[in-house]
Amino acid sequence: MAHEIEAIQDPGIPAHVHRKADNDPAAAKQAERQVAILFLLSALGTILFIVSYVAIPEDIFVFIPVMGNTNAHQLFLGLGLAFSLFFIGMGAIHWAKTLMPDEEVTVQRHEFRSADEDRDALVATAKEGAAAAGLGRRSLIKRSLGLSLGLVGLSPLLLLRDLGPLPGDSLSKTSWKAGTRLVTDPGDRPIKPEDLEVGAVAQVLPAMIPGQDHRALSDIGKDAVLLIRLRPEEFNLDAERLSWTHEGIIAFSKICSHMGCAVALYEQQTKHLLCPCHQSTFDVTRAAKVLFGPAARPLPQLALALDSEGYLVAKQSFSEPVGPSFWERSS
């Protein structure tokens, strides 16, 4: 194939065309001045940078079309730095293009493959070395070395063990227990059913236990619950799930059953909950059944009841783990 006769012959590299500055000293002088001007523009940029740093206060905002209100300090600092860098580059390239040699040079390549005798010699050397070390004969050494090298690789893995605790059943547990009051987030106020109008939605957390003054984010990540009030006749639930609601108030884990984002978008008209991360859509009237998107399970529902003072409480803990799936999850 490589020897086929080409229909068209290679005409070779085209003749070089000289630039104006190559022959005309005046043109060369002009190019030199242009390069110098570009470098001087860069210097001006640095001066702008220094002036902005020292003289423009940090809290001055200027209105610039398209950009809107802009912090003048950061803007002029940036413009100064940008000009100082950009024009150095322009100067250098203009210099190279107008005044440095522009005649193309041709050099030859060579194949990377070594000469045959070198390759043979390498193979011979490798074989000789291997034979001298007795790798082939002494299989006991070979195997025990393999074993110890393999085992040595375990040590760093073992050392990483203390990176974190074992999961245990912590993914399956939340702070919600029978009788835990629902409190507003933020505000930590207990909630009575009449606080929520029909159509309202609220984010709630379990009331802190006595002595607790702080919530860990990892707890909020499992405990966050959405409280939604509909008209009771709008529900389409089985008897058990209906008994988990209270006067049209229904509660779901706010942590998406797909990848754990907060399912925060509630559409009042359609009574759909939408997760803004991957658009899984859940039907509130049907126990958060998945209508659309990648989520494979409904949001877990929290059973509600009233305590003796008339505040909303959890009737029991969540009946299944909240949040994204994991290997040990059974349903």
């Binding site: 390239i93 974190g164 040990e328």
Partner: protein
């Protein structure tokens, strides 16, 4: 001799007497590099990396990579008195109280985006021109490694400020880890030091982001460039350019001035954009808490395709024997990307297996002359683009008043149907372009000048193209399909018949071209 020349001579003498580097230096200062704008794409990636090192170092002087809870009392009033992590508070401090801090943050973020754009466009250039062929397969694999690391490094970088948006990204990453069968829960608990989000993750990824990955980057970039240097750069075909030579400009002084100047231009343009275009205004998002989220949550563009795949996944989970396998996360989050990147890394070997071509190649291909490869590239691009579009389906739905559900169904169907269509169309376009080239060589270019012949016929005058252009259009190789008979010379059916059949099929598809101008064609035209 001027004083300056004497000093230069003394320095050279000093260095050479201690290293013996004179011969080596002389050879390398005269190293020839071919010139083409598309060779600057990799340079942009390199310079962006340097900008990232410089701006990133500046940011570490104030950034506090800690998830310890603090109460914010800084300059930004709307968040005053709020509880947040020290990481978020220190990012606010850099943005509002350190002079030039916001500018540096924006330079760092923009440079990261340009870094990834440059890597991807450079990869496309290398792919479509066949620069990955022997002897450059190693460098291709290193490049794929750099792309992969770049995605990870970028993700870790925008996760560090611990704002509401980035925390949501970490939440998703944790869910992907947790979805790995058998060990996922354990790996997630080890990585996060307990349940998500914990207080360990940001300090840990900070070390990975500023030390471990940049170190690996430096090592890989060094090898990448050394191989380019040692193997000499590829060049585009053209008059006087062969597989055996390099035509271009010497490193010193022309290339040094141009490349050095280009670094400043990339730095200057990045700085200009960072000065005028806001990016990742974390003060608007607020501190991360797992119970909240902002609508329109979007990752940076180089993660967008992955997010788009996750969004379009069907809701599949298997529950059996007391365990759960989340196909809706595993397939789009790990399996499909795994196949994509493995295929990308192995492509040079697959192509050389199909063509049977084991020779060195230093002349680049014009994409039209290798229709199959170009079409495969178009197919892969279409796949990734649909995934990327679906990653922004909420934004698109909002901007164009469409339904998210419709966009999602378009993506779900389109990602299976459109890539093969892109393959067929691209291949046909390539072959048509080859035919057009053939016409140009045989009949010249149209001049638009109409001439009336003595007998009344009107013809358009065609003008012969230059010998240089003719050479460019005909110098490529057309090597035909492999011949892999099912039955060997002894009349026995070969044992690897199925593999051979597949290879033969692909080789035939690969060899489908419009025949280039032959000696025979030229003779016929002369008699015409």
């Amino acid at each position: 001799m001027t004083a300056r020349e004497r000093i230069a001579g003394n320095v050279a003498n000093y260095v050479d007497e201690r290293t013996g580097a004179a011969a080596w230096m002389k050879k390398n200062l005269n190293k020839v590099f071919p010139d083409h704008w598309s060779f600057l794409l990799g340079e942009i990636a390199l310079y962006s990396f340097i900008i990232l090192l410089l701006s990133g170092t500046f940011l570490t002087f104030w950034f506090d990579p800690s998830q310890r809870e603090v109460v914010y009392e800084g300059a930004y009033q709307p968040l005053s008195g709020l509880k947040m992590s020290a990481a978020y508070a220190s990012t606010l401090h850099i943005s509002f109280e350190v002079r030039g801090g916001l500018l540096m943050r924006q330079i760092h973020h923009w440079a990261a985006l340009f870094f990834m754009v440059a890597i991807v466009v450079h990869l496309l250039r290398v792919y479509f021109t066949g620069a990955f062929r022997k002897p450059r397969e190693f460098n291709w694999i290193i490049g794929v490694g750099l792309l992969t690391l770049g995605i990870v490094e970028g993700f870790l970088g925008y996760s560090l400020p611990d704002d509401l948006l980035s925390g949501t990204g970490i939440r998703i990453a944790e869910a992907i880890i947790q979805a790995v069968p058998v060990v996922g829960t354990y790996i997630a608990f080890f990585a996060f030091g307990g349940a998500f989000p914990g207080e360990a993750f940001i300090p840990r990824i900070f070390t990975v982001h500023v030390l471990l990955l940049p170190g690996i980057f430096l090592a890989l970039i060094t090898v990448h460039l050394m191989l380019v240097w040692y193997q000499k750069h590829t060049q585009y075909p053209g008059p006087g350019r062969t597989e055996k030579n390099v035509v271009g400009y010497p490193l010193f002084p022309v290339y040094m001035a141009k490349a050095g100047g280009f670094f400043f231009i990339v730095f200057g343009v990045t700085t200009f954009i960072a000065a005028v275009a806001s990016i990742n205004p974390i003060w608007l998002y607020g501190p991360y808490t797992p119970g909240q989220i902002s609508a329109g949550s979007q990752p940076d563009w180089y993660m967008g395709w992955l997010d788009g795949l996750v969004r379009m996944a069907p809701p599949l989970e298997t529950h059996a024997f007391g365990h759960t396998i989340s196909w809706n996360i595993l397939i789009p989050g790990l399996i499909v990307p795994g196949i994509m990147f493995t295929g990308l890394a192995l492509y040079p070997f697959i192509e050389s297996w199909i063509t049977g071509d084991k020779r060195e190649h230093h002349l680049l291909d014009r994409p039209r002359n290798v229709p199959n490869r170009t079409a495969i590239g178009a197919m892969a691009l279409t796949f990734t683009l649909i995934a990327l579009i679906n990653g922004g389906n909420d934004i698109i739905a909002q901007q164009f008043h469409l339904s998210i559900n419709q966009i999602m169904w378009f993506s779900r169907i389109g990602i299976l149907v459109l890539p093969p269509i892109a393959f067929v169309i691209t291949k046909r376009i390539c072959i048509s372009l080859q035919r057009a080239d053939r016409e140009l060589v045989l009949h010249g270019k149209e001049t638009g000048r109409l001439v009336r012949l003595p007998h009344g016929e009107f013809v358009e005058v065609h003008e012969e193209i230059s010998p240089e252009k003719k050479w460019l259009l005909t110098s490529h190789e057309q090597s035909g399909a492999l011949e892999l008979p099912e039955i060997d010379k002894a009349g026995v059916r070969r044992t690897d018949a199925i593999r051979n059949k597949l290879r033969s099929r692909m080789s035939q598809a690969n060899a489908e071209v419009a025949p280039k101008v032959s000696v025979q064609d030229l003779k016929e035209i002369e008699h015409h």
